[in-house]
Assembly symmetry: C2
Homo-oligomer: 334 residues x 2
């Protein structure tokens, strides 16, 4: 583990890859490594990129990485695709072939397929970002499909969140996505060479004008008052969310996008906002880990057959769920 930690800190690609695999497999040694590496994290600018399938996210992330490399930045990419456990490998291969980024020591790409629950995926992603952060990457791009709440949560732990749309999505769809728009620091209409892209840009700008405040529903559930913190940080946040148009394959608009992302990073670092984001990230992570810990403790304290008996009793109305919860909670406490 010592050698591994040392290797990661020196930015050795093989050690980074090895530790990430350990983290993904929840190898016991990875805990120690993560603890030891944690003090060396906090430097990387974490950028979440989310959007629906078909919005061209991956191609755009590649184009951004190329532009960032031109600026001599060290870039990590974490692609989270929980819906397609089997495409992970091929996807990664395509990415490398497509953009010829392979062999570039300044870039590290990792595709993560589904392992167990999305809750687990959120944790693993967060830990992989820490490894890349500690390894000295200047920016880590976290790409998620953006279909469900958990993916949104993953993106929301970023310093800067990009929401990618494709042209031609109707008003209804935009209403559905109010929750996703709410987390955006930068909105991107990709595939801007397609018909309807102007209309989509205008529609998104109109939505932003209507104000994110009106859409400020709690989308996060119980998470150690993380939402309160997010809202508080939003209130202080004078950043005007821009709507940019890009055509990823040709690179059109990508330079401006990258500049905007870097500008957002500087904006955050220029005041209290960066530390506020860090606090919000820590709060969310601690809340999630506490719940995981609690559920693990419960599963340990109450054997499966006893859990099933309780569930069955409640299902058959022999016991009410309030009493059941009190009993189970008592078992964890003792």
């Amino acid at each position: 583990v010592e050698a591994l930690i040392e290797g990661v800190r020196l930015g050795r690609r093989r050690d980074i890859a090895r530790l990430i695999t350990k983290v993904e497999n929840r190898d016991p040694g990875s805990d120690t490594a993560l603890r030891r590496l944690y003090p060396h994290t906090g430097k990387a600018h974490v950028v979440g990129v989310t959007g629906p399938p078909g919005s061209g996210k991956s191609t755009l992330v590649n184009a951004m990485a190329l532009e960032l490399r031109r600026r001599q930045m060290q870039i990590g990419i974490v692609a989270v695709d929980p819906s397609s456990p089997f495409t992970g490998g091929a996807f990664l291969g395509d990415r490398i072939r497509m953009r010829d980024l392979a062999g570039d020591q300044g870039i590290f790409i990792r595709s993560m397929a589904s392992r167990g629950t999305l809750g687990g995926l959120a944790r693993t992603t967060s830990d992989v970002v820490k490894v890349l952060d500690a390894a000295g990457f200047d920016m880590v791009l976290v790409e998620t499909v953006g279909a469900g709440q958990a993916e949104v949560d993953i993106a929301a732990t970023a310093h800067t969140t990009l929401v990618i749309e494709a042209p031609g999505m109707g008003d209804e769809v935009q209403t559905i996505k109010a929750g996703i728009l709410e987390i955006a620091d930068v909105l991107v209409v990709n595939k801007a060479d397609r018909p309807g892209s102007d209309r989509t840009v205008k529609a998104l700008r109109a939505m932003l004008r209507m104000g994110r405040d009106t859409a400020a529903v709690d989308h996060h559930g119980i998470q150690m008052d993380v939402n309160e913190a997010v809202n508080k940080s939003r209130a202080l946040d004078a950043w005007e969310v821009p709507v940019l148009a890009t055509v990823a394959p040709s690179g059109e608009g990508v330079e401006l996008l990258v500049e905007t992302v870097l500008k957002h990073g500087s904006y955050l670092r220029g005041g209290e906002l960066w530390m506020q984001k860090e606090r919000a990230r820590s709060r969310q992570e601690i809340g999630r880990m506490l719940q995981e810990r609690f559920m693990a403790r419960l599963l340990e304290a109450v054997p499966p057959d006893q859990r099933e008996t309780v569930v069955d009793d409640v299902a058959r109305r022999r016991k009410d769920p309030y009493t059941a919860v009190e009993e189970l909670f008592g078992r964890v406490q003792s």
Copy 2:
């Protein structure tokens, strides 16, 4: 409380409304009432109705309620609209005016706006359903906006889940909604008099043929292995998900829809599936309540300023989150 419980059991509308208000306000007396009423629940057929804004869900739910009333069934409607805290009242008013269901003793309608977190809303909804169940309603229709995971979770606690779509939603949108389709027992293309409805019906049928199994990602996070249970029950479930077309205002297709819903209820009750659904519902509810209980206990055990200190230490890298979680968890235990 005694008189209230008695009144609810006798189906007295005023007592039902009063208890629901108490449940919504988390009035201490409501706990006792819910505990006492629980043994009398489990008879109602709970039907979740979800779908995007603009799919005409509310009108369809009204049309279904009218058809069910023709069949002499007692119907409860719970409309959950977390995204619009202010439309709740107006919405309810519209509903009553529009369909002239007011004064019908065989129907009880309740609109629930956002109160606190969506997690809290899921719990309140589940408790309101119990009140209506104990009051003797044969069927409870739970209408949710279906925009996020929490709403999907609410619908997923139903015995029968209807997913409503409107025509003209592109392929991309359907991909986004794989998680929502996965929970459907009946798919409805409403507004079927609009252009493109045939295409939408066909697209949905094609998606269903591709198999819900391939989309079987864990969309629920850590919830006391509820997903395992859901998947298990799915495996045993030989129900072929139908795709129906309706035009809610004219009532076209509504009779067939209601018959299909009732058929699904009989199908469940005919075998082990009903009790399996009950177990899945109980498992999910117990899991959610345990997490709530744990977080409440944590907030109680660790004062706000101490929580903030821990969060700040983690954000500033003075402490790693793994150590922080262990310390906080120890505080709850002791």
